[in-house]
């Protein structure tokens, strides 16, 4: 086991969530925008309307700065955040998909060169060459989505891979195609949304309304298709994920936010289609923020219905591999950990705490909670992510004995992993949990309860 990175109060999972949700806007812009761009540029040449090029120039600069500073760096940021929060999880992905990522990297190089060349050669090379560079960018960035979707959907539904370990068996998994179709359709809607914002800043209002009307048609078409493919996606989910999708403790009102955002955007497209002059900067940016809320909710549902796994049925969120994976010769860790104890199994434990004794019971318990629970729960009572003290209260656990029994059946909740470790470790964790729980009125703090087990 690798060491665990502990982020006070916030929890490392939320660090990832924040960076990842920020990454959404620039990255979707990067993959979508050029389809619209090339379409408009082509029109400009074919219908001899050079005034449309003013739009092109502005649009590309927005993409360049927004996507290639903040987009590419937040992408690296997700990777780093995942690396330090869940090293064994990313390791598993990389050891399966390194060639997939390496192929994606080839397209990254193509994209970067293409966008800079496109920007700096506008008006300096012939039209056909310029359009070709734009098209190379558009196809290349879409292909990077084709690849990354394979890896993201693999985590949710590895499908045949669990049996065969085959690269393509995992890549073309049951939710891959619906997700790809959904993301591709929605990509056009996003391109439209951004184009409307940029058009709102144009001086030539005639060009602006032309762009806005076209963009809103793209937006509506993309949105309708995406909604259809979303249905297909839900239908393709593995049964366990479907079950979790129906559980309100887990997903709560999150899907409703996504749906509301979706409807709001659709209305926005209709409004600007009827009255393009309403497409000004401020409402346009507002629409983008609504988009962010929508995508964030949708992605976070995808994260939640994967619980308790980081890679479905292969590795738990807390980096423990429960079962053998025969095709790749991987041995499950559960048996060993139950026998040796998690504090012996992990290297990164203070020497004195490895063997449970009463004097250090709570400190050992805390380390265990850090290793096995902190991926999904913060330990502080003011923590942001399902804080354990509050969870204890919710479960109505007061005594160490009850808590220990509860831990033994943790996996009876479909979203939590089975506890791994010895009976003594279970007890240490239980004692620690009881000590951090808010105390029922009248009881003189946790000492009394801990005192009991010292006897």
């Amino acid at each position: 086991m690798y060491p665990v990175w502990q982020v006070p109060v916030m929890g490392s999972a939320l660090v990832i969530a924040f960076i990842a949700s920020f990454h959404i806007l620039p990255s979707h812009l990067a993959t979508s925008a050029f389809w619209f761009n090339v379409y408009v540029e082509d029109k400009a040449y074919k219908e001899d309307r050079p005034e449309l090029l003013e739009f092109i120039k502005k649009y590309v600069l927005v993409i360049l700065i927004f996507s290639f500073i903040f987009g590419s760096l937040s992408g690296v940021g997700i990777w780093y955040a995942v690396t330090v929060s869940n090293p064994k999880g990313i390791s598993a992905l990389i050891h399966n998909y390194v060639w997939g990522w390496a192929s994606e990297w080839v397209f990254f190089i193509i994209e970067i060169l293409a966008i800079y060349i496109y920007y700096y050669t506008l008006g300096r090379v012939d039209d056909r060459t310029h359009l070709t560079i734009g098209l190379i960018y558009a196809i290349g960035s879409w292909i990077s989505m084709v690849i990354i979707t394979g890896i993201i959907s693999f985590m949710l539904s590895p499908g045949k891979w669990l049996r065969t370990g085959g690269f393509f068996d995992g890549f073309f998994n049951p939710t891959y195609l619906p997700q790809l179709l959904m993301r591709t359709s929605f990509m056009f809607a996003i391109a439209g949304l951004y184009a409307i914002v940029v058009a709102g800043t144009l001086k030539n209002r005639e060009v602006a309304s032309f762009i806005v009307r076209r963009a809103s048609v793209w937006g509506m078409a993309g949105a309708v298709l995406a909604a259809l493919f979303f249905k297909l996606y839900l239908w393709s989910l593995p049964d366990t994920a479907k079950e979790l999708y129906g559980m309100s403790v887990l997903v709560g009102t999150v899907p409703d936010i996504a749906v509301a955002a979706f409807i709001a955007l659709f209305v926005w497209f209709i409004v600007v289609w009827i009255r393009p002059q309403l497409a000004r900067l401020v409402p346009g940016v507002l629409a983008i923020l609504i988009l962010l809320a929508g995508i964030f909710s949708a992605e976070s549902v995808r994260e939640r219905i994967r619980k308790p796994y980081v890679i479905d049925h292969y590795m738990y969120s807390n980096q423990i591999i429960p079962n053998d994976m025969v095709a790749k010769g991987v041995q499950g860790e559960m048996g060993t950990i139950d026998r040796e104890g998690i504090l012996h199994y992990s290297y990164f434990v203070p020497e004195g705490l490895r063997t449970i004794d009463d004097a250090d019971l709570l400190r050992s318990g805390r380390i265990i909670a850090q290793i096995e629970c902190s991926a999904c729960h913060t330990l502080e009572s003011n923590g942001w992510l399902r804080p354990l003290p509050a969870m204890m209260e919710k479960a109505g656990l007061v005594t160490v004995d009850d808590t220990q029994a509860f831990i033994g059946f943790l996996d009876s909740f479909p979203f939590m992993p089975q506890f791994a470790g010895t009976a003594a470790e279970k007890r240490a964790l239980a004692a620690y949990l009881v000590s951090i729980r808010p105390h029922p009125a009248g009881a003189p703090a946790g000492r009394a309860t801990i005192g009991k087990i010292h006897r």
């Binding site: 192929s103 990297w105 190089i109 196809i139 045949k160 085959g166 393509f168 010769g329 990164f348």
Partner: protein, 398 residues
Amino acid sequence: MTNIGAMLKSLQDPMGVPFYPLVFQVLLVITFALHIIFVNLVVGGVFMSVYGYFKKGGHYRPLAKSFAKATTINFSLLIVLGVAPLLFMQVIYDPFWYTSNVLSAAWMVGVVFALMAAFSFVYVFYLKITKERKHIGVWGVAAFLLIILVGVTMHAVSYQALFPEQWVRWYVGGSTADFSGTILHAFQLPRFLHFMVASFAITGIFMMVYSWYFKDRDDMDRSYLVWVGKAGAKMAVVFTVLQMAVGVWWLLSVPANFQFYKNPVFIAAGILAVVLLLVLIEAQSNPQRYALPTAGLALISVLGMTSAREALRVLYAGRYDYSVYSYKLNLSYGSTVLFAVTFLMGIVIVGYMLTVVFKMGRSSKPIDLSSLKLRTWSVYLMIAWVLMMIGIGVAIAS
């Protein structure tokens, strides 16, 4: 020692690697060399643009502007070229890389924000200097400092990875524990300087190439170009000498029992560096003429140096009986071929695009390049790639 070896072994990914480790190692070295060259160009480029901005007189202002613009592009390339070694590193050195990253986790996540700030500042500086705005030095200086900070972190994390016997102590420090990842635990000054000093040598060579590339443009000032070439050549030679001194210092600070001065990879890299220095001395009289051979040789020398750096890592890791070559294999021919095909396709498309830039940059007027054969081929190749994936997908599904 043996139990540290066992720890490293147990941290390796249980699924093994999908192709021979040597291939990943070679890719790691090559892509890291490209990464570090662009790190050099960004460090040197930001420095020169700020320096030129403050110097004002003579040819410095146009030089500062050119560097400001080039740095925006180089920064993007630096990032994307950093991604590849990041990937390959995690394939064969995962126990080292992941642990070291977690130990300084807050720094590694912080680096991302420092990079965003630095890159934005570089852009602000570029947009403002083109418009001849005043009091913009602060953007450039801030960017420079942030970039150095990122370099410091990158170095510390790469370096502390080499000391697994210290990890547990760094992490839990006996009986207390620091899990916040807010500390950098190791730093080796000569190694760090070896990357920073090189920046100015590489940037000097970049100036020579710049001077050569634009020499036929009728709208460029001849005397300016000659000046840039000379200044670059001088900078390159001075800093290459310094770089060698720092290199010797580094050599003296690696563990003596490695006997690294006897290492063939290191010796080869050293010889290349000496040859580069000789060529640079020769180039002083006519930098434009020597620009391309010098740049080519510099590229090879950097490759030599990064290979030596890898040889050093092999020795460090060998202290705990860790060898990448004994990594468990789980061959995946299909995905290896996918990458190979994609890579070849990439070369063609990148080749096409570089041809376009090269020709365009050389001409002061708009030019017609529509007859380049690679133009349509590039698009067809990408379509063929998509069709190939559809084919595989259908085959898998049925």
